[in-house]
């Protein structure tokens, strides 16, 4: 009898909790029509483009919103909401002509007033827009005025010429300077959701579960095919569902099972599970990213440039890349990504492992085996593997590395404060070398994240953003690369290859160096 009571009690409690859970959950809409399902490894940070963001946020919002211009496949800038533009002779005024017939997802027509509203919001005091520092005093140029001579024309006035102005507007991490409708913000001034002009409109965001985007029937594509984040974009499915699946193995299982159609950013250690699986195909592209070791050149031991060079010479970059990325990465000793058009003969040579030279430099520096802390984390997991290999390789040159494993938030905090000797770190894709050098170069006194504060480097970086002449910029980047190798403020190791696994019915997927998944012009075979 007591056993029966206990069983009945357990069942009753479970039933009560089940009913409670059912009542607590809001009833979601039921997906209908063709659905293309993709995976995110973490939830998006917000639905506000370029404001509160990370790479996942950028990727999702690029389907919903568009800017005046967009970055093309080759890294150049092309039209998006602006049909054309002119630059004044003094290089300070950009006059954009908007495309006709564009409507926001709420049906309102796109006008110059909407562009001004969006830009004013990005540049307002207190705004956290990613590109605000770049377009304010101290950046490439400050925006001094946004004028609207007529509903189809926008004039943006800068305080000085800025050849990289359009490239900055098109930056993915700045949300492509998305033009959103003012109803995206509620009467209380709080962001609601993006009302944009993209091929998909905002559907439902269930935190840490999924984001649904719905095909926008009123979308007006540019002529031609898709090109980078611009060109002729089309929604070929009724709905996009970005499902948040943090665990890589679970995501692989979901793809194999058919619960996912697109598995982007496949971790190198999951490649073995997916490669060769029936009904699965792979697509990949080299990324414009940077993975390497950041060095605090004012820190103990590593303040001596001979020790930094010795550490660099102790590493077999090609072998390390092969092991850490499971053969998918590209070894690269330059901060300029190997896929970049500015990656030339000066940047191409890898720093070769030379243990004799490394040991000689170690001896000359008077190093006595003091431990050098190398911070790392498992975000991504390759960081940890790379740190262990660096430790082993450096030991061969008599350098004593102590690997300190942190969680990502702690890792990021140490990066931001500059409180470390050396750390594994990576920067996501930057489509212009000035941006990549820009994350390394700067005044450490005002920005502790910067690792390279030599006046010559700062001057060269400045030169790279004030000229638009390609040959002149190539010379500047070559000079920066040479200085980078001599001063060793960081050690560049590799660029990743972004691998995306797709189920066989998926058509039209194109990986690219900017690392974002683009699901416009992607369809499902046998689906209208």
């Amino acid at each position: 009898m007591p056993m029966r009571k206990a069983i009945a009690g357990l069942i009753a409690v479970a039933a009560v909790v089940g009913v409670g859970a059912a009542l607590l959950h809001p009833k979601p809409t039921t997906p209908a029509g063709s659905v293309l399902r993709s995976r995110l490894n973490a939830d998006i940070a917000s639905s506000d483009p370029g404001m509160k963001r990370d790479a996942n946020t950028d990727a999702v919002l690029l389907h919903v919103t568009e800017g005046l211009v967009a970055v093309r496949e080759d890294g150049s800038v092309g039209p998006m909401l602006a049909n054309s533009w002119t630059v004044s002779p003094d290089g300070r005024t950009y006059r954009f002509t908007l495309r006709q017939g564009i409507r926001f997802h709420n049906g309102a027509p796109l006008t110059s007033a909407d562009v001004k509203w969006s830009l004013d919001r990005y540049l307002a005091p207190g705004s956290r827009w990613r590109c605000k520092p770049d377009l304010s005093a101290g950046g490439i140029a400050a925006v001094t005025a946004v004028d609207t001579p007529d509903p189809a024309t926008v004039e943006i006035v800068l305080d000085r010429p800025a050849p990289l102005f359009l490239a900055t507007l098109a930056r993915v991490d700045c949300g492509s300077t998305a033009i959103t409708h003012r109803d995206s913000v509620g009467p209380d001034g709080q962001w609601r959701y993006p009302i944009g002009t993209g091929p998909f409109r905002w559907g439902e965001w269930r935190h840490n579960q999924y984001i649904d985007l719905i095909r926008y029937a009123g979308y007006r594509p540019l002529p031609g095919g898709p090109n980078g984040n611009g060109g002729g974009k089309r929604a070929l499915v009724d709905r996009l569902r970005f499902t948040v699946i943090p665990d890589g193995s679970a995501a692989s299982a979901a793809l194999l099972r058919g619960s996912l159609d697109v598995l982007d950013a496949l971790a190198p250690n999951e490649l073995g599970t997916i490669t060769g699986a029936p009904g699965i195909k792979l697509d990949s592209a080299r990324s414009s990213d940077f993975y390497g070791i950041l060095i605090q050149s004012g820190a103990p031991v590593l303040r001596d440039v001979r020790m930094r060079r010795a550490l660099s010479l102790s590493l077999d970059v090609a072998a390390l890349t092969r092991v850490v990325t499971h053969g998918t990465g590209v070894p690269d000793s330059s901060p300029i990504p190997a896929v970049d058009s500015f990656y030339g003969p000066a940047e191409r040579p890898l720093v070769k492992r030379d243990l004799a030279a490394a040991r000689a430099l170690v001896a000359a520096s008077g190093y006595r085996g003091e431990p050098i802390e190398l911070l790392t984390s498992h975000s991504p997991p390759e960081f940890y593997d790379a740190a262990i290999l660096v430790q082993a390789m450096a030991r061969d040159a008599g350098i004593n590395i102590r690997v300190v494993d942190l969680d990502w938030a702690s890792h990021l905090a140490r990066y931001s404060s500059g409180d470390y000797q050396a750390m594994m770190f990576g920067f996501s894709a930057r489509l212009d070398p000035s941006q990549m050098f820009g994350v390394l170069i700067g005044d450490r006194a005002t920005d502790p994240r910067k690792v390279w504060n030599s006046p010559a480097a700062i001057d060269l970086l400045h030169q790279s953003v004030v000229t638009g002449d390609r040959a002149a910029r190539q010379q500047v980047f070559d000079a920066l690369d040479a200085r980078f190798r001599a001063e060793v403020p960081a050690i560049a190791l590799y660029n990743t290859r972004r691998v995306t696994a797709l189920r066989a019915p998926v058509t039209g997927y194109r990986s690219w160096s900017a690392q974002t998944q683009r699901l416009w012009n992607v369809g499902l075979r046998n689906v209208r």
Partner: protein, 314 residues
């Protein structure tokens, strides 16, 4: 009885206050900045400072604590730094999912433990006992995430019987919701049954040695009756304590299962909160878990007299 319950609940208040105090300050001792995590590696220092001010993180810690505690007393656990949602709402929605998984799993594990543990004790030293104990030891040795992935691979990918990721609320599709919960519940049931089987067997062996069991057998009672009426109630009391502790632990601790099966539960909420340094969420989760612990232990204490007449509620 009511006076006893009220006294226990009143005694829980200082416990929960100490938990709140410790949680608040310990969370802030972990290196990392929620504003930095939110804005990423390229965040402008001015934007970081603005976000600190917006989140109230620029105020002294004791001021932040006093403000938070004041709000807790009014039922307001704050707002998630990363999602902007009220923490209380997040906890209630997530606790439902976790609650179903944990209660059903522990319930099933308890049933398995009662049957397997009692039978193994009854047939102590036999091949059956060996098999039960071997199985329990194997379960204890297998990490739950590995078991989850294995079940996912077999029943989700190879056999294609069950979905592998996602979750459908009961309100949308009860049958579909059950399908999504079968694998996580199976994983947790198997994982938790190992220790419960061992405990049940050990207690049952002790009880089977007692004189009143011999007396019951001597009266000519059937073995089934002896086991169900005389052995089970006394042997189950220690297991019940373990069940209570297990329930309390799992309510805040099935993050691994929830991550593997992408369930939107309390554990995953807490892990995400810790990784993003979402202080209000972590504080809310831990406080909620502490409350659950207190309530589950109270419930276990109230259930004790049902199984052991020597225990009375005073």
């Amino acid at each position: 009885m009511i006076a006893y319950i009220l006294r226990r609940l009143l005694l829980a208040i200082p416990t929960l206050f100490i938990v709140a105090l410790m949680v608040f300050f310990l969370v802030r001792l972990i290196p990392g900045d929620p504003a930095q995590v939110m804005l990423g590696e390229g965040a402008d220092p001015a934007a970081l400072a603005a976000l600190h001010a917006e989140l109230g993180l620029d105020k002294p810690v004791y001021v932040q604590f006093a403000t938070w505690l004041g709000h807790v007393f009014t039922g307001d656990l704050g707002t998630s730094i990363t999602t902007g949602e009220p923490v209380a709402t997040l906890l209630l929605t997530r606790a439902g999912t976790t609650g179903v998984v944990v209660l059903v799993s522990v319930g099933l594990a308890t049933l398995i433990a009662i049957v397997a543990g009692t039978v193994a004790a009854w047939r102590r030293g036999s091949g059956l006992d060996l098999a039960v104990m071997g199985g329990a030891s194997l379960i204890l040795a297998v990490p739950s995430f590995w078991l989850g992935l294995l079940l996912l691979l077999v029943f989700g990918v190879w056999l294609r019987w069950l979905p592998v990721v996602g979750y459908i609320p009961f309100s949308e599709d009860p049958w579909g919701a059950m399908l999504f919960l079968i694998l996580p519940i199976a994983t947790l049931t198997i994982s938790e049954s190992g220790v419960l089987i061992r405990m049940m067997r050990s207690s049952a062996i002790d009880v089977l040695r007692l004189d009143y069991v011999t007396h019951a057998r001597a009266k000519g009672l059937a073995e089934r009756t002896v086991l169900a009426r005389h052995v089970f109630p006394n042997a189950f009391a220690p297991t019940l304590t373990l069940v209570g502790l297990t329930l309390g632990r799992l309510f805040g601790g099935i993050a691994v299962i929830e991550t593997v099966f992408t369930l939107p539960g309390l554990g995953r909420l807490m892990v995400t909160g810790v990784l993003s340094r979402d202080y209000p969420v972590v504080q809310g989760c831990l406080l909620f878990t502490a409350v659950i612990y207190v309530l589950v232990n109270l419930a276990v204490d109230l259930l004790y007299p049902l199984f052991d007449p020597r225990v009375t509620v005073e």
